[in-house]
Symmetry: C2
Subunit: 110 residues, 2 copies
DNA sequence: GAAAAAAATCTACAGTGCAAGAAAACGATG
DNA sequence: CATCGTTTTCTTGCACTGTAGATTTTTTTC
């Protein structure tokens, strides 16, 4: 039955999978978060979260082809499913709704 | 040192405390969530979360006056602190930033 | 002062966040 | 072809967050 929301970190990782498209695999996601969001993340934290998201059906994966440059294990590429996208939409809707309730939050963004 | 974000449920409860102002106590928060957000919540889940938020300094509490109608223990009224408000702002900023990264999310809201 | 009401508190366990370390798969190089 | 450095995934374990069940406290009414 899956709950109607995700944890904070799960939401972040799911969003990155959607954002990175064909290039969504553990290491790249980690890097992207660190450079673009200036937030420290642990690589295995990302991996574990990817497994959990896949279990829940929000993303799916396939092992990437042999397009490696200099050694290294094959990448496991993740893509967001329609269910995953729907979940992100729901969470966004819910947040926008919530924020409306608290006037002190009005500011720059939006 | 407190992390730079909260869990999903903590965020919800913190927002409700901010929204309900002088009327933020366990039972009222629970009711408000059920009626306005159509989401089932357990009363003690709310209470436990309130304690944790208070521990972290995002809300503070005082026992309410004797303005009761028909029996019942005194309410513990919670109010959001400036730290709590700042946390909500940060989380909102971060989300807006995140959503920008994933075009498939563009829609109604905002 | 016993019963009923309203609310808070306690206890306990599953789910999520996170990190340290191990293992796998690959290219290069002697 | 053995082994070395690389790149990346996989395993394990524990602390923190989400949630429910049952209990206790405080207060009004009869």
């Amino acid at each position: 039955m899956g709950k109607e929301y995700l944890g904070e970190f799960e939401e972040l990782i799911l969003t990155m999978v959607g954002a990175l498209q064909e290039d969504a695999y553990g290491a790249a996601i980690t890097e992207e978060i660190e450079t673009r969001l200036k937030r420290e993340v642990n690589l295995s934290a990302v991996h574990v979260t990817l497994y959990r998201l896949e279990d829940k059906g929000y993303i799916k994966s396939k092992v990437g082809g042999a397009t490696n440059e200099r050694g290294g294990r094959r990448k496991r590429i993740y893509t967001i499913t329609s269910g995953g996208l729907a979940m992100l939409r729901n969470m966004k809707e819910a947040r926008l709704e919530l924020w409306k309730m608290i006037p002190q939050l009005k500011m720059s963004g939006q």
